[in-house]
Subunit: 520 residues, 2 copies
Amino acid sequence: MVFQTNLERKIIENEEFLNKAESLLPVLNESYITPIQLVEVLPNKKKIHGWEVRSIDSVEQLSKMDFGKGDQVILDFGEHLVGYVTINITPVGSPPDAPLHLKLTFGEMPIEVAEDFSTYNGVISSGWLQEEVVHMDILPGILKLERRYSFRYMKVEVLATSPKYKVQFQKVVCKNVSSADLTAVSKLEHSDKMLQRMDQVSIKTLVDCMQEVFEDGPKRDRRLWLGDLRLQALANYATVKNNDLVKRCLYLFAGTPDDQGRLAANLFIQPSVIADDTYFIDYSLFFMDTLVDYFHETNDLVTLTDLWSIAFKQIENSLQFLDSNYLFKGEGFFAFIDWAEGLHKETATQGILIYVMKKALSVAHLVNNSHKLLLEETIPLLVEASKKYLWDSEKQLFVSGPTKQISYASQVWMVLAGVFSAQKAKETLEKLPSTDAIEPATPYMYHHLVEAYLVAGDRESALDRMKTYWGGMLEDGADTFWELYNPKNKAFSPYGHHLINSYCHAWSCTPTYLIRKYNM
Amino acid sequence: MVFQTNLERKIIENEEFLNKAESLLPVLNESYITPIQLVEVLPNKKKIHGWEVRSIDSVEQLSKMDFGKGDQVILDFGEHLVGYVTINITPVGSPPDAPLHLKLTFGEMPIEVAEDFSTYNGVISSGWLQEEVVHMDILPGILKLERRYSFRYMKVEVLATSPKYKVQFQKVVCKNVSSADLTAVSKLEHSDKMLQRMDQVSIKTLVDCMQEVFEDGPKRDRRLWLGDLRLQALANYATVKNNDLVKRCLYLFAGTPDDQGRLAANLFIQPSVIADDTYFIDYSLFFMDTLVDYFHETNDLVTLTDLWSIAFKQIENSLQFLDSNYLFKGEGFFAFIDWAEGLHKETATQGILIYVMKKALSVAHLVNNSHKLLLEETIPLLVEASKKYLWDSEKQLFVSGPTKQISYASQVWMVLAGVFSAQKAKETLEKLPSTDAIEPATPYMYHHLVEAYLVAGDRESALDRMKTYWGGMLEDGADTFWELYNPKNKAFSPYGHHLINSYCHAWSCTPTYLIRKYNM
């Protein structure tokens, strides 16, 4: 499950682009949020992950409670936050004759403040588990945590005071941060209250992921991933309209190609802009899609022109992986597509390539006529190849790979690529539930499935999927939408343990876009 | 073992005195120390606490070593340090895609970097155990630890990196701090190399405890204790001669009496000067002793005059505890004297009272004639009472309490009080080893025993005790002298666990004073 490592790849930085990105660095909006109640988290098999939150006292009681060694409290901030916590700590009893030793644990979900992190055995670094162990030598004092946390619940455990003193936690406050301006969002009044709530939670998810870049998740990985950016940008256009942040992110990617012109799957922003050494064909291609969406939204021809070459380069790179039949061939972890286990990705990638090339063609006449001609020539060849070699006329479904694997992903991307008419697309998608097709594993793939239904004119299936999927998360207590959700296996994690999953995740924020764009 | 708690006592601050103390705040001297080797700590029953340090590599190798999850290294700085550590950390491999999670453990002694702190079950707060757990979100980076540590050994454990990267520790450096100026110390060239080394280690112990005040121990409690201050001042006069620091500490104590005029056993310096709510008769009395020593050393009559009243007040307070026979009576944990278990303290306290009154009398004519007269009248009454009621003429030893307990402490303080002639004092002390007298438990009491031998003219026994006691620590590997040392039980701790003992402790720093003052 470790992504690619490409230690030898060489980055060719484009300083002009990076400077432009730097000039678009947003100022973060800050708000100060205090907890709303004291809670306990108890085992309950009927609740998500087996844990239930119960209120035990009002937050006003906190400052009257004395905490000695072994004591703990869980604070509920009432909503998902991304920010910096400070706690005013006052000693009670004799002058403190030993350092205070505290452990703080932050949870987006109840499980994170209920289960011991030492039980974590997943493949992703345990460094992401949000906890801090601190000593305070001087009391009274203000504990100002330097790291940013993504959480709703905060557990405070006193590891040590001394026999002579205890402590009280007076002011507890979180400086919440986001580069999004919520006042720009028109309120959606929907007759369907679930959709109305889904819209709100989508926006909250988006807003909490909007920091100095569009992050994938503020808990983990806190990074600018191209696949997430593309969806975040769509939700952004429908709501907070911070289009300069999209522009900034486009310039960041464009500023850090490798010597083959490839754009990385994600960027690190600190200590400086660094392209990760992971490359996914689908993500690289989506740079063009995101650029064209941005242009359609803003009519910013300067940016389109600036970034066209590097965007088109991703298409050119992908075309090199076509075989003589115009079929895309990939090796290793060449594309992301979805976390679905065992998924064969060539057919889906073929669909994405066609989809992106068509998107590019929609604006190519404005920037590069020879590219336009190339697209016009090549797209039909890929479409025909898809129909000829990837369509199983017996099953009436697209297949992928030597085992002729059937998956939602393959159908969805061929539908989004417009390989067939809407009617035939609808029929294809309708067939899927009765097959053993590999199902979507992530909100990311569910988004594409829903959009495929809508493109195929099947609003009913789209709505149904949204209600069972994102609606399911709402029923399971989501304050923000999750990185991963499998209604049939709610402990699912591609990382070996659901403690490490992100519960406010960018690629899950699209219902607001789907609802608003398609008037759901 | 918890000291007194006096939550109701009221402090009457003397602002003038506290301002004077503040004006004497020293500037700390800084030096930058790097580790000398990489070591491992292995079980060895013949070594102190059962642990032996073995060199495994030169420190130059460190920056070439890659550390991933679960890896660790122990750095040996070659000497005892008090300061602030910084580590330059560089990632190796792919760009770091998860926070680095590190645990750092600091040890004055090998055991501290060998045994798991979770095994600690003593009565003193585990908050003193020197460890830090930190996350670093941005790499490369400089880990700058904000807390001060007292140590020779530093263990670095990598709790998490990620599968995609490891780290290297490049520069590791400790900013060592002390308010002492070592260049003021005349070097002692002694024909006895053990005494020469003992002198050096004493001075190092003193210097490492000299910070913004004379601390008792830089690991624990990092506080200004009156009993320790008195001995530190003596070692200071013999060596680094930072007499202003003694003056500052005198003014700090004088600035924070309670409403009965009592001086606390110790002061906290941060966040502001706070008198602890622990009061020991012996420690309060030693304020006068320390003041008179300071005056003898400096001829600073202004300070003597300034602080005389509060110093004399401690004597007046103590006299209230005399019964009609002029015998001191105490209840509870009224005096410290020593950590020896079961020690009855009234006779020793009687001795301390006489000793301090005599010391006061030596300068009383310069400041307060009526006090002088009072002392002249009272001292003989206490001396006579001691001889009459506390001397067991059959055993030819001082006894204490209803069980007529025999202890080193009782004899030592009666000798130091000069109740008998030197010859009789010598005979008294000579009798002790053949009795079942309660023995000294701390370097603090050993200091008084050695000085009692010297006052009694028994240089041989004094030297013998120094060589077996502090010399024993040297043979057991002391870089600085320890808070506690029992050659017969090297794991002794009055706190229930020797992990929490301080291994650089002020009250153990006096050999340099004894050697230099008495020309040992």
